[in-house]
Amino acid sequence: MIGQIAYALPFLAQGLALTLWVSLLVVVFSLVAGVIMGVGLVYGPAPLRWVVRIFSDTIRGIPILVLIFFVYYGLPAVGLHLPSFWAAVLALTLFKTAQVIEYLRGAVGSIPKGQSEAAMAIGLTFRQRLAYVIFPQAFRRFLPPWINGVTDAVKGSALVSLLGITDLMQAINQVIGRTYEAMPLYILGALIYFAVNYALSLASRRLEKRFSFIRE
């Protein structure tokens, strides 16, 4: 048994690499999209605010699995053919973007209105106000929940195994298919996911502490 599992380790490592790659792409894309849409939600004109609000509430109101199937099976149906890897990344990015929008709204919303006004009063333009006054302050409120939420991306990525993508979850399933050693492999897989996510959450706790001292 041990031998068989040891034999499978390189294969699992490849799966883990894919899991991390998917998670990284999702985290980066969703950060960009979520921050832009979050700014739209806070500062945009009413129609834009509604669009972002509906987007965020809809995405957060349905299971990730439904979102993944919707994107994966739905896009080809309307004529958009994405490789399954990118369909998976797109679906998870949509899910994570909705989260980032809410983190950003919360972080920016926590900054008193007077900060914007003082920045306006010295003649800063909208972009300058965001860059030099709002974002530096919002950053330390945004960071802890955002890093905490990175584990959601890693956990959510396990669902892409259902699209036939050989991530860690799928690699485990395939090794079990060959070796019939279900329990040891599931436990091994769980431990790997645990190690990755626990490390991430420890990092987020450390960052939270580091940024707490400048709270006014």
Binding site: D57, P63, V66, K155, L159, M169, M183, A190, Y193
Partner: protein, 221 residues
């Protein structure tokens, strides 16, 4: 592009979705009910226990929270029966998994709630001569519930959505129903639109009901 929406086949098979939704709710309610018991017992135990127990409970919480639900579902359904002599249906297996899973999240909610109960209230309970059990039942738990209700509501909604993972072991809940229609009728966009609406409506209805419950609870205590 130029995709023409046609919902006829969806309505013809709507019983799959409707039955699926009811099953999703059933799975959620039973799992959460068991999860609440696990969460309450462990949270109360945690705040009064010594180091060893605390470490064990924390390990359970951290482990569950850092592992994907789908893996836990596989582990309990496919893995566990290979090492212990038990047999259960996919549905029972999923309920057991989601109960353990929700338990881990609820321990955290309840624990932080218990720790937020003001010292003065417990002292007041002592002052009027309540026993530790009475203080727990009449002072700490009600106060803790009032503090945690908003977080609880969010956790419940999130657990309701998590029932969709049951589809991976063929439990015929809502997401499974959606996939069935997806593969058998190919009205793909339509079925996921309808299912999205069903999850949204149910989720927001649940949230509304829980908010009402919160208000009632606040008024009663």
């Amino acid at each position: 592009m130029g995709y023409a929406l046609n919902f006829n086949l969806i309505w013809r098979h709507f019983d799959k979705l409707w039955g699926g939704l009811l099953l999703s709710l059933e799975l959620a309610v039973i799992s959460i009910a068991i999860g609440i018991v696990i969460g309450l017992v462990l949270a109360v135990w945690y705040v009064s226990a010594g180091r060893v127990v605390r470490t064990i409970i924390a390990a359970y919480v951290e482990f569950i929270r850092n592992v994907p639900l789908i893996l836990l579902v596989y582990l309990v359904f496919y893995g566990l029966p290979t090492v212990v002599d038990i047999a259960y249906s996919a549905q029972t297996s999923f309920v057991a998994t989601l109960a353990l899973y929700s338990g881990a999240y609820l321990v955290e909610v309840f624990r932080s709630g218990l720790e937020a109960v003001p010292r003065g209230q417990i002292d007041a309970g002592k002052a009027i001569g309540l026993t530790p059990w009475q203080r727990l039942l009449h002072v700490r738990l009600p106060t803790m519930l009032r503090i945690t209700l908003p977080a609880l509501s969010n956790t419940f909604i999130s657990l309701f959505k998590d029932t969709s993972v049951a589809s991976v072991i063929s439990v015929p809940e809502l997401t499974y129903g959606a996939q069935w229609i997806n593969f058998n009728t190919f009205r793909i966009v339509e079925v996921y639109l309808v299912v999205t609406a069903m999850y949204l409506l149910t989720g927001y209805a649940l949230l509304y009901a829980l908010r009402l419950l919160e208000r009632w609870f606040r008024a009663a205590h």
